[in-house]
């Protein structure tokens, strides 16, 4: 049954991808990418990769669509006609694709427990993490404890992305509230948005603090919380949103999250362990792990929230400026 569902979903994914290639209307392309992301998240769910599916749901279907639409608002809707022929690129793609497929022939069978990938560190994580880290959700143990250094890098990447976008687009100034913006004429939208935003925010915080027990954690929580504020900005207009959550505050929050994460690592050094070794944070190693994971997940959540929201602010303020001129 699961294989059949996978096949159907993959088929739908392929059709969507093909259609995207031949569409010239970029607005439609963005919307089809939304579907593409829905479908791929469904495949992840079907493969039992719940945490990945969670991220794909929040980032791919929600934020990516919003940011790509923001870009379109700046660049225009139609794809430029391509003047040169695509023969050479096609040849390159075919040769590369053939080489890759040839390479897969030597790969061990899919899902075989004897595969090198399944023999390396995975058995250790699966067998030892309940004693060493003591969390029900193994993904969080790997992400926040065994691979904490990688995750610190990822958080720094998100932070760097925000800096990059802001240095290009700039943050909006706080009170230019004279400009009429937002979907103000939509009474129904305003009311429903005001009812649902608090619920989304509480849900995001629930995801933040329950990453130890189920799917979720700082990355997903940060994105969902940012999505709630983005909804507010979309419905009530950017100027009002910047009054609720100031761009200045976002700058501070984004850097604070990375700092909290790194400081946890340094605290490990301070207590006589390695960088990001949580065992020494408390007298009992498992309790120390728990404290460390909660604190760094919090740091991740804060940075991701602030980074995504400030990227959105950057795009939206440019779009609004372009719209007025």
């Amino acid at each position: 049954m699961a294989e059949l569902i996978d096949l159907v979903l993959l088929g739908m994914l392929a059709i969507t991808a093909l259609r995207i290639i031949f569409l010239k209307d970029l607005f439609a392309v963005v919307m089809l990418f939304g579907i593409y992301s829905f479908l791929s998240a469904l495949i992840f769910v079907n493969l039992d990769a719940v945490d990945v599916a969670f991220t794909e749901a929040a980032v791919g279907a929600g934020i990516a669509t919003v940011l790509m639409l923001g870009t379109l608002a700046l660049t225009g809707r139609k794809e430029k006609a391509n003047s040169h022929t695509a023969l050479l690129p096609l040849l390159v793609v075919i040769v590369t694709g053939a080489a890759l497929i040839y390479g897969t022939l030597d790969m061990p069978p899919f899902g075989d427990p004897e595969n090198p990938a399944n023999q390396h560190v995975a058995p250790r994580y699966i067998e030892e993490s309940p004693q060493e880290v003591g969390l029900p959700n193994m993904v969080t143990s790997v992400l926040a404890s065994y691979r904490a250094f990688d995750t610190l890098g990822e958080t720094a990447v998100v932070f760097a992305a925000a800096i990059g976008v802001l240095s290009l687009l700039g943050l909006p100034k706080q009170s230019q509230a004279t400009i009429e913006s937002g979907l103000k004429s939509h009474l129904v939208l305003r009311v429903v948005a005001k009812l649902i935003i608090p619920l989304i925010l509480v849900f995001a915080l629930y995801v933040q603090f329950h990453g130890d027990y189920g799917p979720g954690g700082g990355f997903q929580a940060g994105v969902i919380a940012a999505a709630a504020i983005i909804l507010y900005a979309l419905v009530f207009g950017l100027p009002l949103a910047t009054q609720v959550i100031q761009p200045k505050l976002l700058k501070i929050l984004a850097s604070m999250g990375v700092l909290i994460y790194a400081a946890t690592g340094v605290a490990g050094l301070f207590f006589g362990g390695n960088f990001l070794d949580y065992n020494v944070l408390a007298s009992d190693p498992v309790a120390g792990q728990h404290i460390g994971i909660i604190v760094i997940e919090f740091g991740i959540g804060v940075t991701v929230f602030a980074a995504i929201l400030s990227i959105f602010y950057g795009f939206a303020s440019q779009a609004e400026r372009a719209n007025i001129q």
């Binding site: 739908m12 569409l23 829905f38 769910v45 079907n46 649902i196 849900f203």
Partner: protein, 96 residues
């Protein structure tokens, strides 16, 4: 169990039909309608799949879908105002 399988197959076919509507749309609005329907059915499908596999933690993901799909829709409508100047919105879309 058989009923749950049948239900999930039905939802999957609905998603396929909505996808077809989104791929081959008369107007932009039909396309948005199709995309929205794929989104809401995704949430439903995950809930049913959680039951099929006996994994109730899928439900959190279904909640995310229900919420995020809405935000995506609103964003589409909002930015459609900005980009609509490139072509009349009511026009037949040029599909290749």
């Amino acid at each position: 169990m058989l009923v749950l399988t049948a239900t999930s197959v039905a939802i999957l076919s609905v998603m396929a039909l909505a996808l077809a509507r989104a791929l081959k749309a008369d107007t932009v609005y039909d396309r948005i309608l199709g995309v929205n329907m794929v989104g809401t059915k995704t949430a439903l499908f995950i809930a049913v799949m959680g039951f099929l596999g006996g994994r109730p933690d899928f439900l959190d993901i279904a909640i995310v879908y229900a919420l995020i799909n809405f935000i995506g829709m609103i964003a589409v409508l909002r930015f459609f105002e900005y980009t609509a100047t490139d072509g009349e919105p009511g026009d037949k879309e040029q599909s290749s």
